[in-house]
Symmetry: C3
Subunit: 376 residues, 3 copies
Amino acid sequence: MSVNPVPTLSDLARQQSTRREFLIRSSILGALAPLSLSACSDETGERAERKTSTPGGAPPQVGPATAVPNANSSLDTGGHANLHQSTAGAAGQAKNLAFRRYNPELPPVSQERNLKLQFTAQEVPLKVADDVTISAWTFDGDIPGPVVHVRQGDTVEFTLVNHGSLPHSMDFHAAQIDPKIAFRSANPGQPVSFTFRAKFPGVYMYHCGTSPVLMHIGSGMVGAIVVDPPAPLPAAKEFVLVQSEYYLGAAVGGVLPFDYTKMLATLPDYVVFNGRPGQYMGAPISVKVGDRVRFYVVNAGPTHPCNFHVVCEQFDTVYLGSPPAMPIRGVQTFAVAPGGGLIFEMLADVPGEFVFVNHGFGHGQKGAIGILSVQA
Amino acid sequence: MSVNPVPTLSDLARQQSTRREFLIRSSILGALAPLSLSACSDETGERAERKTSTPGGAPPQVGPATAVPNANSSLDTGGHANLHQSTAGAAGQAKNLAFRRYNPELPPVSQERNLKLQFTAQEVPLKVADDVTISAWTFDGDIPGPVVHVRQGDTVEFTLVNHGSLPHSMDFHAAQIDPKIAFRSANPGQPVSFTFRAKFPGVYMYHCGTSPVLMHIGSGMVGAIVVDPPAPLPAAKEFVLVQSEYYLGAAVGGVLPFDYTKMLATLPDYVVFNGRPGQYMGAPISVKVGDRVRFYVVNAGPTHPCNFHVVCEQFDTVYLGSPPAMPIRGVQTFAVAPGGGLIFEMLADVPGEFVFVNHGFGHGQKGAIGILSVQA
Amino acid sequence: MSVNPVPTLSDLARQQSTRREFLIRSSILGALAPLSLSACSDETGERAERKTSTPGGAPPQVGPATAVPNANSSLDTGGHANLHQSTAGAAGQAKNLAFRRYNPELPPVSQERNLKLQFTAQEVPLKVADDVTISAWTFDGDIPGPVVHVRQGDTVEFTLVNHGSLPHSMDFHAAQIDPKIAFRSANPGQPVSFTFRAKFPGVYMYHCGTSPVLMHIGSGMVGAIVVDPPAPLPAAKEFVLVQSEYYLGAAVGGVLPFDYTKMLATLPDYVVFNGRPGQYMGAPISVKVGDRVRFYVVNAGPTHPCNFHVVCEQFDTVYLGSPPAMPIRGVQTFAVAPGGGLIFEMLADVPGEFVFVNHGFGHGQKGAIGILSVQA
């Protein structure tokens, strides 16, 4: 949970060509003033290439949201948008990035009942598939950020240090605290700190709450915090899956920037568990026959439900609220709302390769798929 | 709950210019025969302006629903479409309208165990933000209509008087009654009456059920009825939030008409609580530290879930069915289905400004946001 | 559950003209390589006609999913796409097809505790409305396939015989079995067999799991299996409703093929219960006053929730998991996730014509509507 060694986007941005800088700035300004994008419609180069690759020659889809003036940003959680500079692209160094699998295992619960925790906000290129590198906004350099694991009643003393070039902040869904103070944005180079007690057991989303929240969540500043109940749940192999949607623009220097206009159009390019499309297909999550398996599923959204399903299995337990109360039994698929988290349990009593998916296939099959390998 | 004094759209419509009448009629006919809109593609004026404002010069998005003949209206609930006249616009008087905050407080429960209730159907311009006036179809001149608050077992003798220029009707989700009779449409100038008993506690949607229902719900004819259980729930500050999506066309005389084709394309321009985007940001909902807060959340839709969430708080109680049975505890976010209603409770034990949102940000951040101010 | 006597698409395909063959092949290849469709943008004929019929002259909507290379198929459940031939169209014989209502009544529970069950995979034209014939991919020639009704603990020995021209397979959500073996694809002319025990009571989806799953589910290879608990639920009139979304391309020989690109764009042309838009409007589901009515609702998707609602009624029981545990009471509308199934019960104590709908009207009103007639 310290500073990630990869070059930050702010490092890379200094080396951009004028042409690329223009495109990047256009893209990010689009987040605040989508109408200004129309000025780009006659552009050539990357943008033109992208248009040509659309079936039927159709121009990129644009949501009706832009047809009527709508000060989205002023309505947003933060209320104080300060997107003063672009970071939505990166250059040559991206080639040297390695793909890393995100470890889905729930880390052990903190031994500290008063946990000191520090994250950094970083804007970095992230290789999420062999041929896909994105310009990620992150906690600690990854999507999702580190999994936090505490016990009900624990105190978390949290500090975010902003190593990015934009204001960022932290919103823990497990906290009960005045957000106006605690979840305020840290300017670049600055820290923000607050303390909270984890009141309810469950799995909760965390995310950057800086305006526009849609952009900060949609660009990767999300993660999960698991809060154990006082009496442990039944022994199980425990995994954390955070679903995110990726809405990407044309590559700049081999790196795909997030695209706010596409976020508003709500048709994602990828839907992923733990940041990478289909990463657990080739490198499955592995358990043994007889294991109880517990998935902590957070849906970071920003928009679509995660209709969680394991092929050829049923969940014997789904907790809609804090465990262990009110479990529902015998569930094939249940939707985790964007901004929500649910706990799914099954008994791995049959060996085999069980595919887990978001069964809303129009979106889900764009990467929200993996294998749970149950070994004899 | 009497006739609203603002000019009705039917009043205003008489003063429309020929040019505007043409556009209005085109727009409303589009609801029944979307293909006819193609005749407008070479039009100039308002429609042309709107096309120009779309990024990339793309024409307005059109849902595939229109690519295949589909007699939507004949499949609709009412089954007897009678959209004989346009009201989807309004003129100069709109300038004089004032913005009014919708009071979110649950009104006291009716003292009558046999409540006589009369609403009017009205087509009126409604100022929902300083710079946004819409041509609303309403109950009693507002979106949502008046909140009804009764007790389980109460009888409601309901009359709708149609002051509009189109047929309208009333569908209470809390009623158990033959809809073919009770929820029949009233022609302009006519009343319709029926009586029902509120059988189940909970919060229920009501709406106009006249065909096409999508148009009548989407244009604002929605509201909430709260049915208390016989034994009162724990004392709380109680609020009603009705989420609606707004799909708007180009302004006519300063007033934005609802757009049926955009409703089918399902990308709203605004998503609002109680009819106004972000109205509780500047004028928060206010409670005191130690108060229990109960939100009765109805999702009028017409299409997207309301993923209800309070920033920096958790609900200690969510009722998925009639209260007080089967509460779930420790919930960060839960989706209210379109056409549904759920009750969310939290203890306001921390002072601060807690933002409540639809956490499905691709749609939700277009106005479904407000502040719960918890004062020390 | 034997071979359906209507001509299969593979029969019909032999009689296609060269021109049509080209279009069909383009369409199906689009499922695997959407970008190749751009080659068709200058085509005339059927494709051109379709473009012209779009309001405003807009080109067909294309999801952003195609703007960035995304090997959807390789991420899909099956992982071994083998779409070697097109069947997405049909010719003249389609004219002779008759419309048949799908019987929504739950068939009696199997008397066999060890049920031998055989389905065929068939690609056939299916008349789903007087003026709408689609090129369906089916189990046993219909959408949905046959309803299976067993008891908890029953064994099902299942065989799928592939009478189609593409690989197909079977994925029962009620099974617990290694999917890599059991749910493998059968090549044309071949069978695949497996055996499973129904472990949890409830209503479960079944579907073809061959890659791309989105295409196989979206083209109609879906159905329901009901698993009774050991102790019977309260006596009731029982019905099965399977919701599907239809995404259709331009007619070829009077038959509408499914369109994978539109599936990815997630704006359906029709949303239907039991395969036909609005089939229970003219021919209602009929019960008597005093009957308990139980709906087993499966949402086959592929994408949108089914926000199930009966106008003017409330469900006194909804089972979120296996019945009879944890019923929720007093529900107006509840969302069935795509890939999920829920059981809804109500007491038909009032005579009348009660419309049941998907209350997410932007999608739902495109056919997901019917009448429950409660007769005195």
